[in-house]
């Protein structure tokens, strides 16, 4: 059965699995013009996972991230978020997405953009602004708090987008090329903040990236090619276990750092 499972009863044995995909696939179009962006992906991601998702352009990384985030409906398979309770309309509330490219709302300043998901989650305006301020400080963009997105450089806008995700303290962080517009040093600092914050809030992280330096910071490497996911890349450090669910899945043992 395709689609998202909502409000799944938590399985004690799977309480540390933040997202689980079984036979997940996404095809666009029909017949001869059909294009399979993601094919038969299965995995179970624990809360401590630090995954680098690599692959050539057009391999399906972004589509996979959208499916995991619940932003897109799979054509086949299922995606569940066992560890997350707040599931609405097939999407988990505690999933933060850093989009590739500019994603700030142009009519809101940086602080308002960062606070927006918190306001959407029902926080009061004061609370939302307070949390936004903390995240902005973390990403070292405090001097940009009152600026509009069109007054920011690409890198500054991307850091603001990351701050927006971190401010909401998600349990799963999905980042699509978050450092694409950043210089090397800034990219390193940004990734460090992102990972540190993920550690602090016990969030899993999947980062789609072409940057080897970024990939090296992560404990697990998944490779995407022609819509197929190979989760069997070498683990470079102590990493979270990933339950094998499909051909090519790799079991990463060890405790999560």
């Amino acid at each position: 059965m395709t689609g998202h499972s909502s409000r799944a009863a938590p399985d004690p044995s799977a309480s540390r699995i933040v997202v689980e995909c079984v036979g997940l696939g996404r095809t666009y179009g029909t017949g001869a013009a059909a294009v399979t962006a993601v094919a038969e992906v299965s995995f179970a991601l624990p809360t401590s996972a630090r995954v680098a998702l690599v692959g050539p352009s057009g391999s399906g990384k972004t589509t996979l991230l959208h499916l995991i985030a619940g932003l897109d409906t799979p054509t086949t398979g299922t995606v569940r978020w066992p560890a997350l309770r707040d599931i609405r309309r097939g999407r988990a509330a505690k999933v933060g997405v850093v989009f590739q490219g500019p994603s700030l709302l142009p009519a809101l300043d940086v602080t308002e953009n960062v606070a927006l998901p918190l306001l959407f989650a029902g926080k009061s305006a004061d609370q939302a602004m307070q949390h936004a301020g903390i995240a902005i400080t973390l990403l070292q963009i405090g001097e940009l708090a009152d600026r509009l997105p069109d007054e920011l450089s690409g890198g500054q806008a991307q850091r603001a987008a990351i701050a927006r995700v971190l401010a909401a303290r998600p349990k799963l962080i999905l980042a699509d090329e978050p450092t694409g517009q950043l210089d090397h040093d800034t990219a390193a600092r940004t990734i460090a903040v992102l990972l540190d914050t993920a550690d602090a809030i016990d969030a899993a992280v999947i980062i789609a990236t072409h940057d080897p330096a970024v990939a090296d910071r992560l404990t697990t490497r998944w490779t995407m090619c022609d819509g197929r996911l190979d989760t069997g890349s070498a683990v470079t450090g102590p990493g979270a276990g990933v339950a094998a669910g499909a051909a090519g899945a790799i079991d990463i043992g060890g405790d999560t750092p």
């Binding site: 932003l71 700030l104 308002e112 927006l116 306001l119 959407f120 069109d150």
Partner: protein
């Protein structure tokens, strides 16, 4: 490159191109439609003016000339279809001794009509009773003599024995005024009332009776040649007038002083050309804003995509495109929508014209049609160029690549704000409005006998400047309020948006420029609908007032002057089924100094029970106050403003009038006291007149004879009641009903064409207002679908996303309705004042069509709500392609 770009535009931006082309088409259709309407209106005006004339020319044969020679000359004139001689003989009076009464009239006229006169000039005579030929008595003559068909009347002849004739019929002479005109009188001369006593006989008998009189007293016998012309005239009244009057003058020149032409057709066409000029002014006043609005709508549609265009332009510049290349690309888009929109607009206008008038001609003449169509198409191209090409050119000149990529630009005031151009325009409008008032708002000058007419196009300036100034002022105020009113917006939104209210308010404030544009467009569309509908409603109200003033009441029975009828005769009328109330009103003539005016004697306590007497008819008090004054102080009198000025009257002054005393049959001085000014009164003429207490006049003059009976039918079945009254009283009096009068007033040339125009304009205003609201909101929100996709991806619920949409929609509706209502009201006041010459009588206040305005306003609200709801729904379901653009 151009080809690729064009294909890309058509493939990927087809919706926006279509919307822009539709706006262009609307502008073109509005202008072309005005041209078709003008052409049809002018053509119908000429046609109706020609058909309203029974005898096109009345050619006076000079006393020393040969009637036969003049007849031949007239018949030989190009364009003359028929010409016949008609004899006019002055009689010393008519005497009847029907039954046991004898009656004698004063001097009269006997006409000698050739055979077939009624066939050649249909409408000249209307038989009321009797046969169609023989000895015909005019209705009033028959009433004066108390005769009916079969009775004998003696025709007096100066110096000769009277001749008895047997009456064959009683007829009405619908065009008695022109039939008995003084041919050759100077244009400024006062019109002469037609004779009361007229008999028409066949020409053979006329010659028998009056040739001897002609020999003895040639001054008492004349001949006219009555001619019917070929009505294949130019469709434009002014051109038709020139053709007919030139022909008449040519005939006079060729006659070498033996003929004088009474050019009835020329006179009718002269009035029509004045009406046509007024119609042209009206159509431009009322129709041009529609075309301008459509152009503004187009510009607004284009402006909603301005950010994306700028970004595309910046991208291309960053990739190496030169300015000229970018201008060419923008020109391609402008040409595509300009040409496409113009073609569609012309087709739509043509189809609408064909459906409405059976003609798709854009002008009265071929040259005019081609010119007007070309002008409309050129306007469409100009709209496209100004909406698409000009902003692109301006951005290229002013912005660098980086600035062009901005989505929300730094907000600095435009130049015109700093120079207060809006205030200057409004002040200029006020000044021009005042200057126009100095010539009494005479928009059209059509001096009699002068072939050309002039239109004061300066009168356009005041409303035009008001439009422009109001638009800019609305923009300024919208920008100001939205910029500084975040707290107010937040407070209003809080119940709906909760903790999001501040964020939404900030978003609205930062997007205040496009919102201000939307508010301006919406306000102007509403103002257009408001002003057009109010002008139309006011015109109709004045036309109804005119009908009521002309007829006096639902049914009016006007007694013959020589037939004194007491008020008690009203009981006969009261017995007629359908009559609710009857009120007698005296009609006398009174001298004030050397000036002879009509005097109406009324019963102040009951006059208002059968007819409407409005406060606007008077000055110096309300209708109730002045009627009460007439009742309390019977020698009170109401006079015209001109009389007050001529005689320097102050309230309370004694006014001595000389009236006919029926006891002595001499003029007697009757004192009155001036208490107020009367400008209009039921049945009263447009000239100066008096209104007094009937009882006082009756006592002072020894006669309570009634001039007319005003009859109330309750407003229903007036025509039927009038027929019953006619059957009851015969031909002794003239019976008129308000339904017929309303039709006559409503069939004036301007009225009919205005009705047609405003039907189109009211529909146009309705559609424009709805389209403005829908398009501005829909396109603006569509441009931000990516932002909505992001917000949805960030977890925004439907209600939360909706709060952004609701805020913008609310700002548009409230701002548009408020600004549009106020602007529409001011514009209506100005239009009604500037075009006061169209109204009869001039209005003292606006008549506001609340039903239509409520329909427009509520439709606008519904449309905006539907668009907002649809956009919100789509925003929540934004396609992932929008996200993939991130």
């Amino acid at each position: 490159m151009i080809g690729n770009w064009t294909r890309g535009l058509l493939r990927r931006r087809s919706a926006r191109l279509t919307a822009t082309a539709v706006g262009v088409a609307a502008s073109v259709a509005a202008l072309a439609g005005i041209g078709i309407f003008l052409a049809a209106a002018q053509s119908s005006m000429t046609d109706r003016a020609a058909r309203s004339v029974v005898v096109d020319w009345q050619v006076q044969v000079e006393p020393t000339a040969s009637p036969g020679g003049v007849l031949d000359l007239v018949r030989a004139t190009d364009g003359v279809r028929t010409a016949v001689p008609v004899g006019f003989a002055h009689s010393s009076g008519f005497v009847s001794s029907a039954a046991d009464t004898a009656a004698t009239t004063g001097p009269g006229i006997v006409l000698g009509l050739p055979d077939g006169y009624s066939t050649n000039f249909p409408g000249a005579l209307r038989t009321l009773t009797g046969t169609d030929s023989g000895v015909l008595l005019a209705q009033q003559t028959a009433a004066n003599l108390h005769v009916t068909p079969g009775d004998t009347v003696e025709i007096g002849r100066a110096g000769l024995a009277p001749v008895p004739v047997m009456v064959d019929a009683v007829v009405e002479l619908p065009q008695a005024n022109s039939l008995f005109q003084t041919i050759g009188a100077p244009p400024a001369a006062q019109p002469v009332a037609p004779p009361d006593n007229v008999i028409l006989i066949d020409q053979a008998r006329w010659h028998t009776l009056f040739d001897p009189l002609a020999a003895a007293r040639p001054d008492l016998v004349t001949t006219e040649i009555h001619a019917a012309l070929d009505h294949s005239l130019p469709s434009d009244p002014a051109s038709a007038y020139r053709v007919v009057t030139a022909s008449a003058h040519n005939l006079e020149a060729r006659s070498a002083g033996t003929a004088l032409v009474g050019d009835n057709l020329g006179a009718s066409l002269g009035a029509a050309r004045s009406d046509a000029a007024y119609a042209q002014v009206l159509f431009l006043f009322l129709g041009l804003p529609a075309a301008v609005l459509a152009g503004l709508l187009t510009a607004t549609v284009v402006a909603t995509g301005q950010v994306r265009r700028r970004q595309e332009q910046s991208l291309l510049r960053a990739r190496g495109a030169s300015r000229s290349q970018l201008v060419r690309l923008a020109a391609v888009e402008a040409v595509v929508v300009g040409v496409g929109g113009s073609v569609v607009g012309l087709i739509v206008a043509g189809l609408a014209g064909w459906a409405t008038f059976g003609s798709a001609r854009f002008g009265a003449t071929t040259a005019g049609a081609v010119g007007w169509a070309a002008a409309a198409a050129a306007t469409g191209l100009a709209v496209a160029a100004s909406a698409v090409l000009a902003p692109a050119w301006r951005d290229l000149r002013r912005m660098n690549v980086t600035a062009g990529r901005a989505t929300v630009t730094a907000i600095g005031p435009p130049l015109w704000v700093r120079f207060k151009v809006d205030i200057a325009l409004l002040v200029a409008s006020g000044v021009l409005f005042w200057l126009t008032s100095r010539n009494g708002y005479e928009l059209v000058l059509a001096p009699e006998g002068v072939p050309t007419i002039s239109v004061s196009y300066w009168a356009f300036a005041a409303p035009a400047l008001l439009w422009a100034g109001a638009a800019l002022l609305i923009w300024r105020l919208s920008d100001l309020i939205l910029g500084r009113g975040r707290r107010i917006i937040r407070t209003i939104l809080r119940p709906y948006a909760g903790s999001l209210s501040q964020t939404v308010a900030n978003s609205v404030s930062r997007q205040r420029r496009p919102l201000a544009r939307g508010i301006v467009l919406l306000a102007l569309a509403l103002a257009f609908a408001f002003s057009t509908a109010t002008f139309n409603a006011t015109y109709r109200a004045q036309a109804e007032a005119d009908a009521q003033l002309t007829n006096g009441a639902d049914v009016t029975v006007t007694e013959s002057p020589g037939n004194p009828v007491p008020p008690a005769a009203g009981t006969t009328l009261s017995a007629v089924p359908g009559v609710a109330a009857v009120e007698p009103i005296q009609h006398r003539f009174a001298y004030i100094g050397a000036d002879l005016q009509d005097l109406y004697g009324v019963d102040p306590s009951s006059i208002t029970s059968v007819t409407t007497v409005r406060d606007s008819y008077f000055r110096g008090g309300t209708a109730t106050e002045l009627m009460n004054q007439l009742r309390a102080q019977p020698d009170s009198i109401l006079v015209s403003a001109e009389t007050v000025k001529d005689f320097q009257l102050s309230p309370g002054d004694t006014v001595n009038l000389r009236l006919q005393d029926e006891r002595t049959h001499q003029l007697a001085t009757v004192p009155f006291h001036y208490v107020g000014v009367v400008a209009e009164f039921p049945t009263a003429p447009k000239d100066s007149f008096f209104v007094a207490n009937a009882a006082y006049v009756a006592v002072q003059t020894g006669s309570d004879a009634v001039g007319a009976f005003l009859i109330d039918t309750g407003g229903t079945g007036t025509a039927a009641v009038a027929e019953r009254i006619r059957a009851a009283i015969g031909t002794s009096a003239t019976v008129t009903d308000i339904t017929t009068t309303r039709g006559e007033v409503g069939s004036s040339l301007t009225s009919v064409n205005l009705a047609g125009l405003t039907r189109i304009e009211l529909g146009y205003g309705f559609v424009l207002a709805a389209a403005a609201g829908a398009l501005v909101l829909a396109l603006g929100l569509a441009e931000r679908r990516r932002g909505f996709a992001i917000a949805s991806a960030l977890g925004g619920s439907a209600r939360q996303l909706r709060s952004f949409v609701v805020a913008e929609a609310g700002v548009l509706i409230v701002g548009g309705l408020l600004a549009g209502s106020l602007t529409g009201w001011v514009l209506s006041e100005m239009l009604v004042t500037v075009l006061t010459g169209v109204f009869d009588p001039p209005p003292t206040s606006l008549t506001v069509p609340w039903t239509y305005l409520a329909a427009v306003g509520s439709t606008l609200v519904v449309v905006v709500v539907v668009v907002a709801a649809t956009t919100s729904h789509l925003a929540r379901r934004a396609p992932l392609t929008a996200l993939r653009e991130l």
